[in-house]
Symmetry: C2
Subunit: 457 residues, 2 copies
Amino acid sequence: MAQKPSIPKGTRDFNPEQVAKRNYIFNTIRNAFQNFGFQPIETPSFENSSTLMGKYGDEGDRLIFKILNSGDFLSKANTEAYAEKDSTKITSSISEKALRYDLTVPFARYVVQHQNEIEFPFKRYQIQPVWRADRPQKGRFREFYQCDADVVGSQSLWQEVEFIQLYDTVFLALKLEGVTIKINNRKILSGIAEVIGASDKLIDFTVALDKLDKIGEEKVKEEMLGKGISEEGISKLQPLFTLSGSFESQIESLKSILSTSEEGLKGIEELTFIHTAISELGVNTATLQLDVTLARGLNYYTGAIFEVSAPKTVQMGSIGGGGRYDDLTGIFGLKDVSGVGISFGLDRIYLVLEELNLFPETVSKNVEVLFINFGDKEALFSLKAIKELRAAGINAELYPDAAKMKKQMNHANKRDIPFVVLVGEQEITSNNYTVKNMKTGEQDTVSLEALVESVKG
Amino acid sequence: MAQKPSIPKGTRDFNPEQVAKRNYIFNTIRNAFQNFGFQPIETPSFENSSTLMGKYGDEGDRLIFKILNSGDFLSKANTEAYAEKDSTKITSSISEKALRYDLTVPFARYVVQHQNEIEFPFKRYQIQPVWRADRPQKGRFREFYQCDADVVGSQSLWQEVEFIQLYDTVFLALKLEGVTIKINNRKILSGIAEVIGASDKLIDFTVALDKLDKIGEEKVKEEMLGKGISEEGISKLQPLFTLSGSFESQIESLKSILSTSEEGLKGIEELTFIHTAISELGVNTATLQLDVTLARGLNYYTGAIFEVSAPKTVQMGSIGGGGRYDDLTGIFGLKDVSGVGISFGLDRIYLVLEELNLFPETVSKNVEVLFINFGDKEALFSLKAIKELRAAGINAELYPDAAKMKKQMNHANKRDIPFVVLVGEQEITSNNYTVKNMKTGEQDTVSLEALVESVKG
């Protein structure tokens, strides 16, 4: 009758070591968020379907996990769809709720719903899981955490400046060196499209440009031609393909390309402001780099666009990203609320820290002392000491059974517990504790006070 | 076009203050779990339906949230059920996954699936949300957190002793006095049913007995009669209805009632062991109380049963519970693994602390310093100081826009920010900072070092 247990594909169990390592990253990010003045909110795991559907494009709609209505849901199923056996059409009539797909749309919903309680500008952070019915593959899961910080209610570019500092602060705290923060501006992309006469093909243009690293200049040009961008327009792009050198010299090249585009020049102005401020303030470990091919999330970004790359020594996609969106809450009826935010990719940061061996050795809060159980009388005596150790902040436990000594010592070894305490007849009589250092093998018989001290040390 | 945003009934948004208060409870419980040697695991939010269905009774099956399969799910729907429009029958063919209903069944699944990696006895804790399609009402939600600690792999009664200490430790840390930990033993209930000749009616018997507090002795007897328990049997129960006095005297009464039941006497022996140990070890704030009418979770508990009541001054149901189950992993094919565990009810503990005003004043990690923004030059100068403050562990931020001074000061007031810093032409020239204590109104112009010190103090 027994079932062989397993979990759904794309999901994961986390063992104690993995939980501890993940919490190390979460706590580091959380501390930095708070240090920068962000405040936490949490939203429900599932939202009304109407809140989520239509916000992420057709592909997004397909990838949203829908929750089946309770009770006799078929009785309310759309009759036509039922007759036609049309899965897509029937869905909204048998499923009213859906699992959150990201943290941005629920945040927009939260801001609109609670707008009268919120003091703007509102700096919020949110660290919660999201779910996507994506095809699972290496580093891509159906349940994963997002760590987002956003500010809504101000168009100030100082916020972009602060987000770069925030990234830098987190990666410094994680001791992760060599991170690159790529920055671009949606207005620059719009400006370029305008200059080459392809304003109506902005998406096609940026999708092609985005592939420059992967497929090279010639193929990018071919793709653009294929999408109907003119030869003449593409020739104007030439300087883009060879943009290099310092942030400043890239900006100079862009200025000449974009001299006729008001929007493009505005984008340059914004980038320059941010770059100048960061040069003045300094970064500790990350590098800020202009990347004109950066075009993520074009659907809703309107200003700055960020993407963070792991150190070059590690094969890994982006470990974070974000940008400025000028009208996110408009979909829920609150117009003209500008927002800007960034996100940290927990799973990829985890893989990077693992590969570079950057997790602190003490990351998992292990038990520090195991008391060997020699019988009920000894156990009771031990528990009195354990109570004192715990009150002193030391994680301690009693082996629950009076099993063979060897078995208990093996248990301590397998769990990497640094100290073992042995309490027998003699110890009880003399009110002492024999403590064994499992690394050095040293053994000593001491008072309770000395025991607390030696384990703490 | 705009939708009026809302969230599904039975779910909640948490604002920054609520998140901070919830985290205060989570962290207190987590620290105690670790202090007692428990290690964290996490499991996926959704499991294969086959893992969950049939584990919580018919009612439970109905309350489990099912996730609709992706893609053209109707093409694989059970043909017969589709023709009959039978919602119950069709479910398993269009939904393969379901949201976790509690943490116990996923834990059992985890133990069986990872049995070769686990070092037994395994002390695990788990703090994650669960979902139930219950009718929402005060204090009952469709999404809520459970905080569970369990040990599997040992039958030692020392674990029951430690769980009582663990409850006591958590409530002491939360400064919640007057909590009662009720204890009973399933074997005592079985023994009583045996003695009154109602072994085959154990559930009916305990369900009725459980209502003693609410409906009184006479109605309980009526209900038992109605369920077919004999007059003679019920008369033997008489001492139960008047059990009172100390733990010891109640045990003596039970001994005489159960003198002919081997199982009942075993239950008394276990209770006595636990009570004696706790008397020796002492509890700090909670009271241990024998409650023979306690019968929760009878379906799987086999030994000790715990339930924790809030202080009598607060109207609140149980704020925790647990017990011993001798064969939880059997459902997944791993026999003879004994387990014992307890759970904390986060939402109810929250309401109790709120009502008794027991949350620390400093529970939310607010911003400590807001820098007023007088323009870009001043902002840049301010951000240099903010960087230093943050590095010193002080949560600080810049108002993003050079808005009117009054608006910025109001912002600080509304957010309860204790210090405001003003940087103008003069301060930049003299490399000083004017800091205002928002509570006292005191204002002082100081160096950066002095600023850090005064805000820290």
